[in-house]
């Protein structure tokens, strides 16, 4: 699925600050098969943008295009939800509202009219995919720990079998193992689509951005500041990122520290931790050999 926003802006209708534009002049085209990370300061418009892409809210001006066609408003003038796009909210509490985990899982597909047998089968697969077990089916979602709620929220979205998965800060509050597991499972789901699935991933963790993305979308004050590969963004625009209240991944900090001290810039093909560590160790081994 290709998603496009053309000259889109958004003003919250109930906004008490007079017609404050939470999003301004957004032009972006997201092709199928990409992993896009979204970063930006607090209040820069990331969550608003995600709701716009999913069709939960309609742009105040401009258009949302799905596969080249304008997503028309409903007869009542409301936005039209795009069912092939799954959105995991910033607060999992906002999408878990049933009395048991199982009920939350089957809610979506059941409403789509999918056969119950098939739905139950999917529920069993999805709960496993997010690292939980069927024992969780009868638990009350709101009594789970922070990390468990996240996993269930992701599972409810995957139940709908989306083509595009939008995740709004899915790793906030997860412990390191939990974050790794969630990232890995999203990555597995993404790869299993054979280049047809898209991931849009909001995060404040620059290390996660360096590890996984094809492209990084940088939001600043309701506008798109950059859309670039992680390598080029973090190496060429680190100054601007700091100005925006953002940061660079640890791997970039390491490369820059070495450059400042030793005057050598170590060339790397990506900013992933393993890649950078390998190059850095090789560099110092060589240094040691020369001494």
């Amino acid at each position: 699925m290709d998603i496009k926003l053309e000259r889109a802006s958004y003003i919250y209708p109930n906004s008490s600050i007079n017609s404050y534009e939470s999003l301004r002049n957004i032009n972006i085209s997201i092709e199928a098969g990409k992993w896009i990370s979204v970063i930006g300061h607090t209040g820069s418009g990331k969550s608003t943008l995600m709701k716009l892409l999913k069709g939960l809210i309609a742009p105040t001006t401009g258009h949302l295009l799905i596969n080249g066609r304008v997503n028309e408003l409903s007869k009542k003038g409301k936005a039209q939800i795009i069912s092939d796009i799954g959105l995991v909210f910033q607060y999992p509490e906002h999408q878990l509202f049933e009395t048991t985990v199982l009920k939350d899982l089957v809610f979506g597909p059941k409403n789509q009219g999918i056969e119950m047998k098939e739905v139950n089968q999917r529920a069993k697969e999805m709960i496993k995919l997010v690292g939980l077990s069927e024992e969780y089916f009868q638990k009350a979602p709101l009594q789970l720990s922070g990390g468990e709620k996240r996993r269930v929220a992701i599972a409810t979205v995957l139940m709908m079998n989306p083509e595009v998965l939008i995740l709004d800060e899915p790793t906030a509050g997860l412990d390191p193992l939990g974050s790794k597991l969630i990232l890995q499972l999203i990555h597995d789901w993404y790869k299993a689509g054979g280049g047809h699935r898209t991931v849009i991933f909001v995060t404040h963790e620059m290390n996660e951005v360096a590890e996984y993305s094809d492209e990084v979308l940088v939001m600043n004050n309701g506008e798109i500041a950059f859309l670039d590969s992680p390598l080029s963004l973090f190496l060429n625009h680190d100054y601007e990122l700091k100005e925006f209240g953002l940061d660079t991944p640890d791997t970039v900090k390491l490369l820059q520290l070495i450059e400042q001290r030793f005057g050598d810039y170590i060339k790397v093909e990506s900013l992933q931790e393993e890649v950078v560590l390998r190059e850095v160790i090789a560099y110092f081994k060589k240094q040691g050999a020369e001494v």
């Binding site: 607090t42 969550s47 509490e93 940061d247 560590l277």
Partner: protein, 268 residues
């Protein structure tokens, strides 16, 4: 002093804190780390009497939290910033959110306005004071939750993952704020999953499965307890370990990327 004497806490059959004994002295900057579900938030709720131990007792400056009469005093002494700020909000504007706490502890009404504005200024949320808390972005909510507690001027402040939804600059600002409060004599308890944030603490506690499994300086936790306790392994530590295994002996006490690179430079 905040003191936990043989404290246990359970939900039904599920024991989430197991016979915890812990003394937090005035003036400490304590960081608490540990996996999801290890009991960190429950420990912090015990500290200000929001929940009561099933066994043992919790004392704040010698006052036991189980006494209903002393609860108000305890809430004034120990400020708890909730993990999910939405759980903390009760009023309809950002400003009232801060005022509400002040009313509860009986602050002079003439002074409330300036105290509330000062607190909001500290977290850069003053210009949002007329907005509804629920209509803020995630990070903005978190900052309002912090201001509401700061305004009450507690002697002990527990930050339960207050940096989790902040952007990098916002996160750094909160750490700086904690350090500033600490130099003013306030005891800081900071719960986090980010290892680099614990380096500014004076003491680190590792919780796992309802037990304290390590208690020491940042350096000792950083070098000895990270992997076995499922904590985040920072790049600096990975680099140090890799270098050591290739025969480059970076000293134990080096804990930052700057430190490692500086060591390599001076020793080359």
């Amino acid at each position: 002093m905040l003191s936990f004497d043989n404290v246990s806490f359970a939900y039904g059959q599920h024991l989430v804190l197991k016979n915890i004994s812990l003394q937090i002295n005035k003036g400490e900057f304590l960081a608490i780390v540990g996996p999801n579900g290890s009991g960190k938030s429950n420990l912090s709720k015990l500290a200000n009497g929001l929940i009561q131990p099933h066994l043992g007792k919790v004392l704040v400056d010698g006052v036991i939290t189980q006494m209903p009469k002393s609860l108000r005093e305890i809430r004034r002494l120990v400020g708890l910033i909730f993990q999910n700020p939405e759980d903390q909000f009760i009023t309809t504007t950002v400003f009232d959110e801060v005022i509400f706490g002040l009313e509860n502890i009986g602050v002079d009404p003439d002074k409330m306005k300036s105290i509330a504005e000062d607190a909001l200024k500290k977290v850069e949320m003053l210009s949002y004071k007329g907005l509804e808390p629920h209509k803020l972005s995630g990070g903005q909510k978190q900052r309002v939750a912090i201001a509401a507690i700061l305004a009450m001027k507690p002697k002990y402040i527990v930050f339960d993952e207050s940096t989790a939804m902040l952007d990098p600059e916002g996160r750094q600002n909160i750490i700086t704020l904690m350090q500033q409060l600490h130099t003013e004599g306030i005891t800081i308890i900071h719960i986090t999953h980010h290892m680099e944030e614990v380096l500014v603490a004076t003491r680190v506690l590792v919780l796992k499965d309802g037990l304290i499994v390590a208690d020491g300086t940042p350096a000792s936790i950083f070098n000895n307890n990270i992997e076995s306790n499922e904590l985040e392994v920072p790049l600096a530590l990975k680099l140090k370990q890799r270098l050591r295994s290739t025969g480059i002996k970076v000293p134990e006490q080096v804990m930052t990327l700057e430190g490692v690179v500086d060591y390599l430079w001076t020793s080359s």
